[in-house]
């Protein structure tokens, strides 16, 4: 008995030896992805809880800190990620109906959106690093540059804490975006090889679910870091 044979979608797809059918394997894999997504939510949950606690303890720090995030960048990134979720969903759909050309386009656009997102993140990060707005102990804000940025506001003593949250939350999210881009690249190559079709599209769907979660986390990060005062 063979294990997974990805090459041929014209005949009935082979499934791993411990499953009854390809459909059985597909359903099980999908459940596995969902369970994994639960672990992701719990992991980010820890960060969100910490955010809630410290926002409650030091509202002033968060109020001033959020002045350093640029809503235009954040909003652009939100739109980019939301759009990429659409193209990801389309990619899955085109794989299902075996429209290879459109699937490749949709998945490529999704990756491109990932690059745009990370590019904007790079601009934001380098600006903050330039101003010395670093997390916690490393905070070394340049007073003159800060004054030109937000005016002559008195900064709270523990303003570094805000940037700890900013960099930890967006950093861990950014790592997820990079991983997601890698995974989409992987299914893109397999799509180009024509491995997916109506009988077999589990990896695209699993990667898609992951990408939607990464998107969803950003939907919460954007208001918390850019909009909330």
């Amino acid at each position: 008995m063979s294990t997974a044979n990805h090459g041929n979608t014209h005949s009935v797809r082979h499934h791993a030896h411990h499953y009854e059918s390809a459909e059985h394997e597909h359903q099980s894999s999908k459940e596995g992805v969902w369970v994994f997504l639960c672990t992701e939510i719990l992991m980010f949950g820890g960060l969100f809880v910490a955010y809630a606690i410290f926002h409650h303890l030091f509202p002033e720090t968060f109020k001033i800190g959020s002045k350093f995030t640029d809503v235009r960048y954040g909003a652009t990134n939100t739109v980019v990620l939301l759009f990429s979720s659409l193209t990801m969903a389309l990619g899955i759909y085109y794989c299902q109906i075996k429209d290879q050309k459109k699937a490749v386009i949709a998945l490529s656009i999704t990756i491109l959106c990932g690059f745009i997102f990370m590019g904007i993140k790079y601009l934001e990060y380098s600006h903050k690093i330039h101003l010395g707005l670093l997390p916690g102990d490393w905070y070394a804000g340049n007073a003159d540059m800060i004054a030109s940025e937000i005016g002559n506001l008195k900064l709270p003593e523990n303003i570094g804490l805000y940037f700890s949250f900013y960099f930890m939350m967006t950093g861990i999210h950014g790592i997820h975006v990079l991983i997601g881009m890698g995974l989409i690249g992987w299914v893109l190559i397999r799509t180009m090889r024509g491995e997916f079709g109506p009988n077999y599209y589990t990896p695209v769907e699993g990667v898609g679910l992951f990408w939607h979660l990464v998107d969803l986390v950003w939907i919460y990060l954007f208001p918390l870091l850019y909009l909330v005062e």
Partner: protein, 530 residues
């Protein structure tokens, strides 16, 4: 797929040959055996640390090591035993091997992830060991802040090691949840799965939901050491107690990751060796789920004296006592199963009975500690040490040993010498009580835990405790010899030496590559004795 010989010659052990075929194996049974070997090696390491601790505590003052060394030895004893022995111990070793077999599956749902989980454990252990190059961590296994955030590279290594090893646990849990949902044999309804599977399933839910919180906690701890992010650092307005909340939100459910699978093993042993249908199958099954659910709401009982509000203390105290209910349900059902059974005192049954005795002491002293008023007195004394060793060693480790002796014939097709196995039980059981019972007394007299030294008044009982630890050591050496002797010289076991009813015993020993010669069709419950 190779065909099965008429004499059961073909099995998972000789399905493929060579060390490489093991290291790349996707067979859940082989991965289970690899976990067996790894966990036993870690257990040896953790055990040597334990003996070093007890030897140091033989007398007051410096006995064999300095205070600094002692703090490190104690840290590694705890970290190795918790993260590398007891947490993977039953699920990843016995569970990996027997969960698919007990539900009539050919493998776990995701064999590649299963193999990956083993490598995660090794990698995590390796990264944690790197901390030794930086002089070793001396924070205790709980890594409490602010002591652990002094830009210490050793703590960073330990944190990242725990993070990676955590993935091992998550992947095992994920695999078990999906396997139990999707891969049951025809007729194997959820009301017919063996209680060991119910226990592993409940454990898997905790592994999946709690471990990610530990992951983010240790990432933040590492970031705290590298960047000084200040979440746990009072100098930046951070809160060290928040670390304790985060840590125990995982680590208290983790206690049930350690003990729930042990309950599952005991359910199997009791019914098999009483030759009687288990009493209260449904109650035992659902009590596992109940413990898993309650486990997420009791973490505050570690922090009664950490400055959390009195109201929170009262709530956590009440919720903690709630755990006693489903636990007692299990214990009473096991006793009811024994009633009028034909009890066979083979070595696995001795460990099961030992478990019931010791775990009850561990559980009831847990209620003492859940009571706010008494905990203020007992907190951070040897009473706590004795309590959780009665649960972890007297509970989980007894179950692992019973499980090894019980399933050894199935795993390797050979019998252990049961007389030797019973001798190992006597040493472990007696030694355990000699070691830890005096610690209850020491704790109630006020001897603080974790300290390198103690007042002269405590010396007598500490000597008793140290002698007991050597007896435990002898017991495990006897057990190791018994197992190795069984592997080399054991008599052929036959498919079902204990006359057990669950599915894994209905196939040849050792099992063939795909577990069953034909897919079993289940028509009755798991324990139809009488």
């Amino acid at each position: 797929m190779a065909s099965t010989g008429a004499h059961g010659e073909h099995n998972y052990l000789n399905h493929q040959k060579g060390i490489w075929s093991w290291l790349t194996s996707l067979d859940h049974k082989r991965i289970g055996i690899m976990y067996f070997i790894t966990v036993m090696i870690f257990f040896l390491v953790g055990g040597l640390f334990a003996l070093a601790i007890r030897t140091e505590l033989w007398s007051t003052g410096e006995t064999i090591m300095t205070a600094e060394t002692y703090a490190r030895v104690m840290t590694y004893h705890g970290a190795v035993m918790v993260f590398l022995v007891i947490i993977p111990g039953i699920p990843a070793f016995l569970g990996n091997f027997f969960l698919p077999m007990q539900i009539g599956a050919k493998d776990v749902a995701f064999p590649r992830l299963n193999l990956m989980s083993w490598y995660c454990l090794l990698l995590g252990a390796g990264v944690a060991l790197l901390s030794l190059l930086y002089g070793g961590a001396d924070t205790g296994w709980t890594f409490y802040t602010p002591y652990s955030i002094k830009h210490a590279p050793a703590v960073i290594c330990m944190a990242l090691g725990v993070f990676i090893a955590g993935f091992s646990s998550i992947l095992t849990g994920l695999n078990f949840v999906v396997t139990t949902h999707k891969l049951r044999a025809p007729g194997m309804t959820m009301n017919r799965i063996p209680l060991f599977v119910w226990a592993l399933y409940s454990t898997a839910i905790i592994q999946v939901l709690a471990t990610p919180v530990l992951a983010i906690t240790v990432v933040l701890l590492a970031a705290e050491n590298i960047f000084g992010i200040g979440f746990f650092d009072p100098a930046l307005g951070g809160d060290p107690v928040l670390f304790q909340h985060f840590f125990w939100f995982y680590s208290h459910p983790a206690v049930y990751i350690m003990i729930l699978p042990a309950f599952g093993v005991i359910s199997e042993l009791i019914t098999t060796f009483a030759r009687k249908t288990i009493f209260g199958y449904t109650a035992i099954a659902y009590s596992s789920l109940a413990i898993a659910a309650v486990s997420f709401f009791v973490w505050g009982h570690h922090m009664f004296v950490s400055g959390q509000s009195e109201f929170a203390g009262v709530v956590f105290s009440f919720l903690t006592m709630l755990v006693g209910v489903p636990t007692a349900i299990k214990l009473f059902n096991w006793i009811a199963t024994l009633y009028k059974g034909s009890i066979n005192l083979a070595s696995p049954m001795l460990f099961a009975l030992g478990f019931m005795f010791l775990f009850t002491i561990g559980g009831v002293t847990g209620i003492f500690l859940a009571t706010v008023a008494t905990d203020v007195h007992f907190h951070d004394t040897y009473f706590v040490v004795a309590h959780f060793h009665y649960v972890m060693v007297g509970g989980t480790l007894m179950a692992i040993m019973g499980g090894i002796y019980y399933w050894f014939p199935k795993m390797f097709g050979k019998l252990c010498n049961d007389a030797w196995a019973r001798i190992s039980f006597v040493f472990i059981f007696v030694g355990f009580n000699v070691t830890f019972y005096p610690q209850f007394v020491l704790g109630s007299l006020g001897m603080p835990r974790r300290y390198f030294d103690y007042l002269p008044e405590y010396e007598h009982l500490n000597k008793v405790s140290t002698i007991g630890s050597y007896l435990i050591g002898i017991g495990f050496v006897v057990a190791l010899i018994t197992i190795i002797h069984g592997l080399l010289k054991g008599k052929p076991a036959g498919p079902n030496p204990w006359g057990a009813k669950t599915l894994e015993w209905q196939t040849s020993s050792p099992p063939p590559h795909e577990n069953f010669h034909t897919t079993p069709i289940v028509t009755a419950g798991p324990y139809e004795y009488r």
